[in-house]
């Protein structure tokens, strides 16, 4: 039965790849409930002898990071304070941009769209120095607000691209009808376009949330000490590994830091895939 054999081979390879991708998560998850002695005495890879849930509470509120013993909680909150407003604002601006670029054609709109989406292809490192200057001049260096500003501006390229491509599938007659009915730019947006937008809003929110939460380079570059987001703080935490390894607590910290994006994926993943492939009007 060559067809069954082919099918079996495909599944075997797929399962193998899935396992390979999941191993790091599994190792971290297992280590997060093992004691450091357990890990040191046996191996980094292994099942917990006893479940040590205290790793989580310690790493959350009392673990010392860079001489500062308040756990990862403040950094976690920093990340939330940075990610939530940046996600909301960049998504809303992206929908407005996409709406005007897709449905209100104006002279030079193709160029404006081209310049905005160019941002998608510019590497982060290239923009470091310009951002240093901007943050310095605005007095936002080493502040959460500074990072929020960066992520809103950087995020616009993606959110505009997503929304504009989604809105081009909206029939232009809908806009003509609304204009004759007497609706203006913003009324059409609120009453007609936004109600058609949930699929693309979900896509951009998930994309922005995970992207901003996981972002690292700007986090370490533009913030220090207590202003750092969790991705930057994790590095400071592992910097101490050589002196006093605390694999259990560190694994718990990694897991906590990854939790929001994992949850977003678990609850929103299928909407994400659906939204990427759907059109605006059935």
């Amino acid at each position: 039965m060559p067809r069954h054999l082919a099918r079996a081979t495909i599944y075997f390879v797929l399962v193998l790849l899935a396992v390979a991708y999941l191993v790091p998560l599994a190792v971290v998850a297992l280590n997060s409930v093992r004691s450091t002695e357990d890990i040191l005495q046996t191996s980094l890879i292994g099942l917990p002898r006893t479940l040590v849930w205290a790793n989580f509470s310690r790493t959350w509120s009392s673990y010392c990071i860079a001489e500062h013993c308040a756990g990862i909680r403040p950094y976690f909150l920093n990340s939330l304070e940075m990610t939530i407003p940046a996600t909301i604002v960049s998504t809303l601006l992206g929908t407005l941009n996409g709406y005007s670029l897709a449905l209100w054609r104006f002279r030079g709109d193709v160029w404006v769209f081209g310049v905005i989406t160019l941002g998608v292809f510019l590497p982060e490192q290239m923009k470091l120095v310009p951002w240093v200057i901007v943050l310095r001049d605005l007095g936002l260096f080493n502040t959460i607000e500074g990072l929020v500003l960066i992520h809103i501006v950087q995020g616009l390229s993606f959110t505009t691209l997503f929304c504009r491509n989604y809105y081009t599938s909206i029939p232009i007659d809908l806009l003509k009808a609304a204009r004759i009915d007497g609706a203006g730019f913003f009324r059409i947006f609120w009453r007609i376009i936004l109600p058609l937008s949930p699929p693309i809003l979900i896509v951009t929110v998930i994309w922005q949330f995970t992207g901003i939460w996981n972002e690292y380079l700007y986090g370490v570059t533009f913030s220090a000490g207590e202003q750092q987001p969790i991705t930057a703080a994790l590095i400071a935490l592992s910097a101490h590994v050589s002196e006093a390894p605390n694999y259990g607590e560190q694994s718990a910290a990694v897991l906590l830091a990854a939790a929001p994006t994992l949850l977003v994926y678990l609850f929103g993943g299928r909407y994400f895939l659906r939204g990427l492939t759907s059109g605006a009007v059935k």
Binding site: D173, K176, A177, R179, I180, G182, R191, P195
Partner: protein, 368 residues
């Protein structure tokens, strides 16, 4: 009073003109149809009337008021779109009230207007549904309802029936005609379907390549087409156009086809006998060539009997279309449905000579 006046309207995209100096005067209560093949500029003209597109040059007046710098919403018009353009996230009722809401019409009046129009169009049962829950015909009705709640100076229809299947299209066509008769509204209606134009219009503007070829009532457009384009575009099957030469005999003009084998009495031309020898194009509608015992008029002189070779027949059920070879050129005739003529045979036909048209072969304009 003139409901709509269009003066010398041009539209250019870059250097490419798509409308070349359109002039139209439309009276109150008229049902005007803009008809033409795709790309003739009819939809562009409708969009300019609606204010959704701007003219490169020229003026549009609605109800005697110049529409320069007047936004679509302030033109007191309502439009029905080919795609219906119903707002997908709103119910039928909300679709109908959205415009009134934008114009801040009091709630009571909105409810009354919706009730009145819903009753008129028999869509009361649909008011709380979303457009996605409606069939094509129902959506079409709702789209008309959304226009009717406004009670505007001018209704604009952009190919409103072309997304319906054939049966529904005929039904809706009749309903639109009844509605117009009942409401007496002024309508400008765009279509590429010449049957819709003939059946609905009080006046037809036939458009081609950005110009109005003829603007007249349906009978005139059909029987006295202004040029050969109109002659061939209106009517299915189209008018036969055959090269001919004018000759004099017994003190009147005759159109001689081919090498002289076929002679048809020509209508009087403005040039009279001085047109003898002139090359023309003779236009004759297929229904003017019928089986031999058909009489078109009480005057037997209007009917001429001719023997013509039959090349092919197409029975349609209601009639039979015959492809003939008339003095060497192809021509179509329409005979009774029960008549079966053998391909390759020669049969005798009755020809209605009253409605023969003559065109100038160079300018393609109607001579008479």
């Amino acid at each position: 009073m003139s409901a709509l006046r269009i003066r010398d309207v041009w539209k250019r995209y870059g250097h490419l003109p798509v409308l070349k100096g359109i002039d139209l005067d439309i009276d109150n209560g008229e049902f005007t149809i803009l008809v033409g093949p795709s790309g003739c500029g009819k939809s562009t003209l409708l969009n300019i009337i609606a204010g959704l597109d701007s003219a490169s040059q020229g003026t549009v007046e609605i109800g005697g008021r110049s529409m320069d710098d007047v936004a679509s919403k302030d033109r007191n018009i309502a439009m029905v779109f080919q795609s219906y353009a119903l707002y997908p996230s709103m119910t039928v009722r909300q679709n109908m009230t959205f415009g009134m809401e934008c114009r801040q019409v009091p709630k009571r009046q909105q409810i009354e207007a919706v009730d009145r129009v819903a009753r008129l169009l028999q869509i009361e049962a649909l008011l709380d549904r979303k457009p996605s829950q409606l069939s094509g015909g129902q959506r079409q009705r709702v789209a008309m309802g959304r226009a009717l709640v406004r009670d505007p100076l001018l209704f604009l229809f952009d190919e409103p029936l072309s997304n319906l299947d054939a049966k529904l299209r005929v039904e809706m066509r009749m309903e639109i005609k009844l509605l117009h008769a009942r409401l007496g509204s002024t309508i400008v209606y765009v279509t590429h379907d010449q049957i819709e134009a003939m059946t609905l219009a009080t006046r037809i503007a036939v458009m081609h390549q950005g110009e109005v070829q003829q603007f007249a009532d349906p009978d005139t457009v059909y029987n006295r087409p202004a040029n050969m384009f109109v002659a061939r575009f209106m009517g299915a099957p189209p008018m036969n156009t055959l090269p001919a030469r004018l000759e004099a005999e017994n003190g009147r003009l005759w159109a001689v086809l081919g090498d002289g084998a076929v002679r048809l009495p020509a209508p009087a031309t403005p040039g009279g006998m001085s047109d003898v020898g002139r090359e023309v194009v003779l236009g004759i509608r297929p229904e003017c060539i019928a089986e031999q015992d058909r009489r078109f008029d009480s005057d037997p002189a209007s009917t001429l009997l001719l023997d013509i070779p039959v090349e092919m027949t197409e029975p349609t059920g209601a009639e039979t279309i015959v492809l003939l070879r008339l003095a060497g050129d192809k021509a179509l005739g329409r005979v009774s449905p029960d008549i079966r003529l053998r391909a390759g045979s020669i049969a005798r036909f009755a020809v209605d000579t009253r409605k023969i048209c003559l065109f100038d072969p160079q300018t393609e304009q109607l001579i008479t």
